[in-house]
Amino acid sequence: MRQPTLPLKQPGGPREQRKHTPKPDKTDLYKRACIEAFRKLDPRVMVKNPVMFVVWVGTVITALLTVNPTLFGPTDGDGAAVYNALITLILFLTVLFANFAEAVAEGRGKAQADALRSTRSDTVARRLLANGSIEEVSSTSLRRGDRIKVVAGDLIPVDGEVIEGVASVDESAITGESAPVLKEPGSDVASSVTGGTRIISDELILQVTSDPGKGFIDRMIALVEGAERTKTPNEIALTVLLAVLTLVFLIVVATLPPPANYVNSPVGITILIALLVALIPTTIGGLLSAIGIAGMDRVAQFNVVATSGRAVEACGDINTLVLDKTGTITLGNRLAEEFIPVNGHSLEEVALVALAASVFDTTPEGKSIVRLAEKLGATVSFNKDEAEGVEFSARTRMSGTNLPNGNEARKGAVDAIRGFVRSRGGTAPAELDQAYERVSRLGGTPLAVCQNSDIYGVIYLKDIIKPGIKERFDQLRRMGVRTVMLTGDNRITASVIAAEAGVDDFIAEATPEDKIHVIQTEQAQGKLVAMTGDGTNDAPALAQANVGLAMNSGTQAAKEAANMVDLDSDPTKLIDLVTIGKQLLMTRGALTTFSLANDIAKYFAIIPAMFAAAGIGALNVMGLSSPRTAVLSALIYNALIIPALIPLALKGIQFRPLTANQLLQRNILIYGLGGIIAPFVAIKVIDVGVSAITSF
């Protein structure tokens, strides 16, 4: 049967297939955005958007001309006041639509912030004093370093580190995941708790890790609300481009009257303002901030918290992805598939020693070894209370049990076990290498099993590659993103998995230090690198990477070093974030292209109208009825195109896994050529309508 694959075009697949996301209340979104659009007319706010500020000033001037049409000199023709009033109204709507686009985008973030804010309330906390007694204080008076006690049913008041106790915590308020999470001290991934979550069983002693107002939820609220929103490098570059274009057109329009007078075709101030507004890139000027805010919002809806828009944007520019094998490329839990006896031992003997070495192992791998051994008839033949478990460590790379009779049962990396056996005076049989190679060639992880100086066999731990991951890597390759897999496995296993998953490069037997080394090497070649991590030892690499995605289940150090935190703790999301980042950049590029291409049609509408008396009627290619309707039509199109593009700006253009060149060609074809043709058609249609209902 064919395994289901992830859809290629949408990050993470359809929404219902993803984990639950906290859903903000969006009922009054558009009503509030309308009110906000009027509030943003304040010149102190308008001045932040150069293109729209120029339109705003133009609106004020045309409004004055509506009140007094002869303000700047005599006017020709009748109905100048009505005409000026119409122009004023259209310009006003242009500004309002741009404000509305920004307000809708901001409103979505604010709604999410409100949903989060509801989880943060002032509660009573039990602070532990130095003498061991407990005093009840307000949660706002807790400071970093304080110790508090929380019991079942309590809302955890602040972010903290578990120092005593084991308890289940419901984190659904921030992650949306309803299954409770076990929290215990000392563990790398389960010892940090977040303020606003609820303890549902037992009790914990916590050490507070953040001062009031600086906790995880507070930071999340500030981010989604846009309070800390600063312009990203791309936005700054685009702002400069838009300001330059606006300045150039301002100079062009301001210096137009003398030549116009010279050709006996004097131009009124209203028409000059109309020309200026039609020529400056109002579409992208009005939608620019909405695109950026919507990009952040898409990331937040994906249950990822980005520390800045810069991080989201950097995702789109990533050249290299450094991925851990386990959990990202393969399904997290490797399961024991087979025991391979060596050294003349029987299958039953291997099962017996493997069981003995795994009775204290609580990892999914360890439990699967116990299950397989029991399936083969093996039973624990010693008193577990008298035996001693030996935990796995990155240094020894093995674990096992010291049996009551003095025997030492061990299982672990083949090299580590070989060393252990040698230290006990034994030797490794030649068959061990054959078994090791056989398992590795199947893409599995070989674990050797020994007792004292005798190697019994090899356990084949089967790794399952996530369905659809190969297609995702193909997609990334087409976009020019290189993937590097890091794994603690041996070279043969790593190469088999790498080939099966389709990654571009791999590093076998990797240590945490290798991660930072890979990142530095790639960055030295001028590349941007993204990676995921959850442990404290990942923190330096997370900080070094251009995009560091920390898991919410990870340590506080990892979360602080990273510039993004995934609330669902799913490392595969890094791939989706790259597509979201690229989508953001593509949307901005496409709308800029469209906005600039629109100028051509507007030029052909307004210039013949302005110089009608100069005998350039041949330029009126659209056959617009009169100079006045031509100007009105161009401005109406200019205003209406902004709300028409709001959904595209908020949703982002459809993502396609193509190379930069292919994307450029496609964008130029659709948004460039489309941007030239669409306004010709639209302005003509509007002109027919305007001339039918007015007498201009």
Partner: protein, 63 residues
């Protein structure tokens, strides 16, 4: 001195008070005095917008 909105408006009006008589004299009374003041102000607004746009180009991160 920090340029606040009232100060900018005052400066604009003062500059206009200097420009308008020149404009009025140059046009040889073809345009009424009120129009000359309005045109002077319009010129100042245009120059002001140009200065504002130059500031945006130089310090884009502030906008």
């Amino acid at each position: 001195m920090k340029p606040t909105l009232p100060k900018i408006l005052l400066m604009g009006l003062l500059v206009n008070a200097a420009i308008t008589p020149v404009l009025y004299a140059a046009t040889g009374s073809v345009i009424p005095r009120g129009t000359a003041y309005a045109l002077g102000l319009l010129g100042i607004v245009v120059v002001g917008l140009a200065i504002y746009l130059v500031v945006v180009i130089v310090q884009p991160e502030k906008f």
